[in-house]
Amino acid sequence: MAPLPLQIINLCAALMLLLSFAMLSQRRVLTLVDLFALQGLVLSISIGVVAWNTGQPHLYYSAGLTFVLKVVALPLILHRLIRRLDARWESETLLNIPTTLMAGLLLVMFSFALAQPISELATTLTRGTLGIALAVVMLAFLMMITRRKAVTQVVGFLAMENGLFFAATSATYGMPMVVELGVALDVLVGTVILGIFFFHIREQFDSLDLSHMESLKED
């Protein structure tokens, strides 16, 4: 029987994976954002547990930062943007959803296989979760590939960051503080810039659909 913290973290990991799949299959953009916020919440909980377990103070900061950023700030910004831009529905995905889910399943298996040799080296309690973190990253990647709306692509991008953070905590008990701060700053600034971009895109293309943005190519 594993110690309790480990069980919690494993549970969080499973939840994150589940949420990733949920996001992959979700068409409503607002729900997608909610799911993203939920994932952020799970992430911050897991970071908190790791912090509690290892007693590293900077992980508490990290958990707090994650919470503020990914559960509160970003979903809020996204919600407001979506309302103002009226982009609630995802149009048809490039790959239909069942197929996407099947592909996602394969990706998860691949990620586990990839993480196997790495996890064996890990000394941390949470090493088993590295595969899941990688799977989350990959699933987010898949989502970005298959979606057509600018907003969903951004959500996918942010979900990828979630997976990265999860990897950072689960595998290594968090990156150095400086780095985490920097990463957080980048994410925030990036989201703001993206927000600005949405307006530009709408101004120029009258829609957030990415199919309008295929003019730059070789012919």
């Binding site: 080296l121 600018a150 990036g190």
Partner: protein, 483 residues
Amino acid sequence: MALLILLGMPLAGALLLGLLGERRWAPELNVLASAGTFAASGWLTWRVISDGPMLVWNQQFFMDPFNVFLVALTALVGFTTALFSRPYMRIEEHHGRVNRRRLRLYHSMYQLFMFSMLLALTTNNMGILWVAMEGATLATVLLVSLYRTPASIEAAWKYFILCGVGISQALFGTILLYFAASKLLGSEGSSALLWTHLDQIRGQLDPTVLSIAFVFLLVGYGTKVGLAPLHNWLPDAHAEGPTPVSAMLSGLLLNVALYAVVRCKVLVEGSVHSSLAGNLMMGFGLLSVLLAAFLLWRQKDIKRLFAYSSIEHMGIATFAFGMGGPVANFAALLHMTVHSLTKSSIFFTVGHAAQNAGTQTMDKIRGLVTISPTVGWGLMLGTLAILGMPPFGVFASEFLILITAMHEHPWTTPILLLGLGVAFGAIFSRVQAMVFGETNLQRLPHPPVLLPVFAHLALVLMLGLYIPPHLAAWYREAARLIG
């Protein structure tokens, strides 16, 4: 101290320009800040040359011959680009493509971009390196979309998403690196992310983790280098942004990204004890050269043309770093130097040419040499230099790369040469048509500043015929570091 000025100067410039950017003398301020940065880089270089590598500020910053030369190069090109940008942006304003508010954004982001590149180069922390690279992306996204045309928005969006995703992979790689190192160095503080520390223990790092990490790092930073097939953002971003930004992207950002890849490669090579990393880089390099060379034949837009040429040259440099060894590394460093000097000078002339014609479509640019001899000859000579014609420096580096390839991996030489030959035909046929012939262009409202162009070309010419002993020793030292 020099480092402080080096990093502080653009940061302060960014803030100041962010506040005062709408003034009429903002471009001059931009030049001034860049000049200050350049001076600081000179000072820093001199310090490193005289005192050897330095490690400062809680070991967070690190200067060795490898990065100090890139710092100097970055600061130089940043300075000359600022010089060029002054009349260029005035003309753009005159043509009504930008207004004062945009110019404020432009100048401020310009300095921020410089800052993040210099930070990426000087930091010792792989995490900060990542942060700085991402910061550079963010700064340039706004620069690329400066004109707010549909095309520029599209280009910026693609740039942002592709590079963002790419750089996320790099973060994952960095995490894995940290993971591998923290077992040996402990996770206290940031020592497990400091390159100097990693470099010392690289032999003990776990090879499996490191090779997986390298894949992520290579794909991540490789996206920014513009390696095929991760290059797709590059031509769009180069073509749609303002020309000074294209010059900086091609001349500097790609170098910085390649720098990051090479730093990672050093660690991985040390750990894995096989040529895996090198082979991967060679593969990407060759693919980039070939793909870019053929795609060059399909170009209609002048800036896209040279963007593909940048992909090609980054491919060559990556290939050379992949081969490794003193000569190839030396050549690759030299190639980075001459490429960024040449390419930025080309973009300077290209910018003015496009302004002369009022379009970037190559079919509409004719007879540059008649309407503006300096722009025309600058473009012609720059093109010949970039195509690897002696006596320019690009030839020297390509010569070294080719002979090394012939020696170490003979089968790659025909591929490289095929790429170079095809690229030669593609670029030259177009440039010749633009430079020579009857003209249909208009004169510019402001006289172009072409000092940067010819200064760069003169430097490239010099490097082709004579590499000063100091510089050579420096390159050699850097090549030795890279291994």
